[in-house]
């Protein structure tokens, strides 16, 4: 047996007596690490002073140059999840987690070399491309395994892992700042050393997840769980092949459901600090606005677990109906909270909105499982993440350009976001309609007995 063979799916089959509750922490080991991506912005300002130390010099990198690092990483996340989904699914979670750990940790270390040599292309390749592969592979690696271990609670299972992605930034942000403080000197910023430490720590942490993870033995089911023999209205017992899913209207409807839900949240998330300060001019300080961003991140994370778990009881389609109906109402009412000057209502409305933004991410793997079965759900989820990449481009652009247009046409800053909120509400109405059209997948798309091996060839 070679070392690499222990990564195979066959070597990760759980022995009798293995507790399935060990699998969520294995998934969290990966998602807590790759969730650092949300906190990458803490490096932006220090990286503009690598040469000047106390202030930027003309040879230092500027913010638009540095902004590309995160953009490349998110683009590669979507692309790699889409392209490598089948490889992840067929090779098993351990091989995927191991690869993700090497890519993610290696990306940090290569970026450290790039920072040390002051070569931005090396950082683009390190964090952006290599790290992006780690993000994409790591994000989808535990999804189908969790669903198979917790067939009675698939929403909660994926909600737990994807909650970790939201929570990763909470750890990374203060940790990065603390490490840079430790390594900085009057003549050195300390970013390269911070990258090395984080790369090594993340690689080790993710390897622990790869070591713990197991797949259930064929035919395993939880004690007392009776698997439904026949498909329910919106929950299939059959499987759809990964590329077969692309031929179904259901895939593209759910693609739009995710894209519109994320577009509505992601644009506002990036502007949250500026927005609350401009809407309540003179009443909300910079420090308080940072607190608002932190609070929204907590609701984003909590919503991932809460809504995904709730979907196990009320159904996936109904959960998205709640997101779109309640989201439309709240977005439409946000300008009113600004007009009456109620910071409390403004914060409360956004807390619910961001809980549903996170909930949208966490509920979608279980929605796909209901539609396309468990066999290729991780790979299909990978394909669906292109909706996230698309929303990542449209959401912020929509918020920024509408605000800019309003301000340049004489609208007061306090009201500059009103039109954006109404546009978001309209997007959510369209999402509601897409969700309405989601029906069970036609049986002609289901995999036939014995077809699996032929399709995999």
């Amino acid at each position: 047996m070679t070392f690499l063979s222990i990564l195979d799916r066959n070597h990760t089959i759980a022995r009798p007596g293995f507790s399935r509750w060990l699998v969520p922490p294995a998934a969290l080991c990966v998602h807590l690490c790759i969730g650092q991506a949300y906190a990458f912005s803490v490096f932006n300002l220090p990286m503009t002073k690598l040469l000047g130390i106390t202030q930027s010099t003309p040879d230092d990198w500027n913010l638009p140059q540095l902004g590309w690092i995160f953009s490349i990483a998110i683009f590669v996340l979507g692309a790699s999840a889409a392209l490598l989904g089948r490889w992840v699914e067929e090779g098993g979670p351990r091989r995927a987690m191991f690869t993700a750990a090497l890519c993610w940790g290696g990306g940090f270390i290569l970026s450290a070399v790039g920072v040390h040599l002051h070569n931005i292309w090396l950082v683009y390749f390190g964090y952006g491309v290599l790290g992006g592969f780690g993000l994409g592979i790591g994000y989808i690696s535990p999804v189908s395994t969790l669903i198979k271990w917790l067939p009675d609670r698939p929403g909660m299972a994926t909600g737990m892992a994807i909650m970790g992605f939201g929570g990763g930034a909470f750890i990374a942000s203060p940790l990065s700042v603390w490490l840079m403080q430790q390594f900085s000197t009057p003549t050195h910023v300390g970013v390269a050393e911070t990258f090395v430490v984080m790369g090594v720590v993340y690689m080790c942490f993710m390897m622990v997840g790869a070591a713990i993870v197991r797949v259930p033995a064929p035919g395993w089911k939880p004690e007392g769980y009776v698997a439904p023999e026949q498909s329910k209205k919106l929950i299939t017992t059959k499987d759809v092949y990964v590329y077969g899913a692309l031929k179904t209207p259901q895939f593209w409807l759910i693609w739009w459901v995710l894209c519109l839900n994320v577009t509505a949240g992601i644009g506002v998330l990036g502007q949250a600090s500026a927005m609350i300060q401009e809407v309540f001019q003179g009443r909300v300080s910079v420090v308080a606005a940072a607190g608002f961003v932190g609070l929204m991140s907590l609701f984003n994370m909590g919503g991932r677990f809460f809504w995904a778990s709730t979907s196990d009881y009320i159904g996936r389609k109904n959960t998205y109906f709640v997101f779109f109906a309640l989201g439309t109402l709240l977005y439409a009412l946000v300008p009113y909270t600004g007009s009456i000057g109620s910071v409390t209502l403004f914060v409360a409305f956004y807390a619910v909105i961001f809980s549903m933004y996170g909930g949208g991410f966490a509920t979608v793997p279980a929605y796909l499982r209901d539609m396309f079965g468990t066999r290729y759900v991780g790979a299909i989820h990978g394909l669906l993440l292109t909706a996230w990449s698309m929303a990542g481009i449209f959401g912020p652009a929509l918020v920024n350009y509408i605000r800019e247009y309003n301000v340049t046409h004489g609208v007061a800053k306090a009201q500059a976001y009103n039109v954006t909120m109404y546009v978001m509400a309209v997007l959510l109405v369209i999402g509601f309609i897409c969700n309405l059209f989601v029906q069970a997948v036609h049986e002609r798309h289901h995999m036939k007995q014995g077809a699996e091996a032929a399709m995999a060839d």
């Binding site: 294995a26 909470f170 932190g294 994370m301």
Partner: protein, 42 residues
């Protein structure tokens, strides 16, 4: 103690270690963020 009880107690230790491994840093991060978030209400 029979083998079933051994497995159960072994699993309990593994579960505590695994959940502690991911739970402690997560709780630390959440508390840090919560402390920052409270500044909104000060």
């Amino acid at each position: 103690m029979n083998s079933s009880q051994n497995t159960q107690s072994g699993n309990a230790v593994k579960l505590a270690l695994a959940w502690g491994f991911v739970g402690i840093p997560l709780v630390w991060g959440v508390l840090q963020t919560l402390a920052n978030a409270l500044k909104l209400f000060q």
